[in-house]
């Protein structure tokens, strides 16, 4: 690009324009939105990967665990119990999985009328899972308001996630044959196409104590 030598700028307006900066500082949030859109289209790895040590993923998992425990009414001490060595569900029974939908930095929230389209998109997914007998339950979670209760405190503070964690905007419970099947089902969630993250966790039945490798089943 170069200026036409045969078409010089007029003297007055040329001076005014010449004083304008060509480069301007873009809005601070735009970088994340662009990177998120690229990630949602598979043109970039997830935005979380830019941070060393993957703390957001760990934090998301921790948040998922703590929120799921809260939702299911587990006592806090349960989290410290020995973890099952394998699936807690006896062979032959369908296993339940929680699909936790997170709004991470790469998530592209719907704008205006898109919200209606987005609603129908997720509803279609639920309807198909229900028709296949795989949908147990689940809902969207409001991101308008929520409370966080910190450990060793009974004082809730307004918030949607523990500090440093992504916020959870939906929980679906499904049944699946095994982990691979659950991951396949989760991969079809529209949430991923919109840049959100999905955490898949097996549901540990509340009516059975955990099995520990090397020990006889209790009860």
């Amino acid at each position: 690009m170069s200026n036409d030598t045969h078409d010089p700028r007029g003297p007055a307006e040329g001076r005014e324009l010449a004083a304008l900066p060509l480069e301007l500082d873009p809005p601070p949030g735009l970088e994340d939105r662009v990177a998120g859109s690229l990630a949602a289209r598979g043109l970039l790895p997830g935005a979380d990967r830019r941070r060393p040590g993957l703390p957001p993923l760990r934090a998301a998992l921790a948040a998922a665990a703590s929120l799921a425990l809260l939702a299911l009414g587990f006592v806090a001490g349960r989290a410290l119990a020995p973890r099952p060595a394998a699936s807690a569900v006896p062979a032959g029974e369908p296993t339940r999985y929680a699909l936790l939908l997170y709004e991470t930095a790469s998530y592209d929230p719907p704008q205006g009328r898109e919200a209606v389209e987005r609603y129908h998109e997720y509803s279609r997914w639920v309807g198909q899972a229900r028709e296949r007998g795989q949908f147990v339950g689940g809902e969207e979670l409001s991101v308008e308001r929520g409370w966080v209760i910190p450990p060793a405190s009974s004082t809730p503070r307004p918030g949607l996630a523990p500090e440093g964690s992504a916020r959870l905007s939906g929980v679906f419970l499904i049944t699946a044959r095994d982990d691979a099947h659950a991951l396949d089902l989760a991969a079809s969630l529209p949430h991923l196409r919109h840049g959100g993250h999905v955490v898949v966790q097996e549901v540990v039945p509340t009516d059975r104590p955990p099995r520990v490798e090397g020990e006889a089943p209790a009860g």
């Binding site: 690009m1 200026n3 060509l22 480069e23």
Partner: protein, 193 residues
């Protein structure tokens, strides 16, 4: 080789988030300046344009022939996105008079790099130009496109580009004379040319 070119090569090899962000930070200030001027200072529309331009650029990186700088190529993509939006009718050309521009800006310039009152006057006058005039003037007088390049990018005749520019300059002169103070002092140039 420029820093942007080095980052581009690295991004082509790695396709990782960190390199993309470095490339973004190197190239976006010019892209953002162009987008704001083309949209007459409408930030939402400018953000959409920048986002769409980056998506297309990354999608079509393999077709970048390096006949121009990467930033120039990006700017051309952005101009095309802008034209497509206009053609689709998603965005109408909106020309506004200086008073309504001032009202729309509400005393807060949408151009953060333009702090001086005189510069804001020019930005406002530029934003007040009819869309077609503004586009040609921004590309030619501000971003250094030739009429041939403008004609190719905007799919118009070179003669149309020249006549639009002449009318744009005349209109800008009128707008500046009608109320906006001329630029008086450029010593504190904070923008990066």
């Amino acid at each position: 080789m420029t820093a942007t070119a080095v980052l581009l090569r690295r991004f082509e090899r790695r396709r990782d988030d960190a390199t993309f962000r470095a490339l973004y930070r190197a190239a976006t200030p010019r892209l953002w300046g162009l987008a704001l001027r083309l949209t007459g200072g409408r930030r939402d529309e400018a953000e959409e344009l920048v986002q769409e331009a980056w998506i297309r650029a990354v999608e079509r990186l393999g077709s970048f022939a390096r006949r121009s700088s990467f930033t120039t190529w990006l700017c051309a993509i952005l101009v095309n996105c802008h034209r497509e939006e206009l053609r689709r009718g998603a965005r109408a050309w909106r020309s506004v008079e200086p008073d309504s521009v001032a009202g729309e800006i509400g005393g807060v310039t949408p151009f953060p790099g333009a702090h001086r009152a005189a510069r804001i006057d020019v930005e406002r006058a530029l934003a007040a130009l009819p869309g077609g005039y503004r586009e040609v003037m921004v590309l030619h007088d501000l971003y250094g496109y030739t009429h041939r390049e403008i004609a190719a990018t905007l799919e118009i005749a070179e003669g149309t580009s020249k006549s639009q520019l002449a009318r744009a300059r005349a209109r800008l002169r009128e707008l500046l004379a009608s109320g906006a103070a001329p630029a008086r002092d450029r010593d504190d140039e904070r923008g990066r040319r």
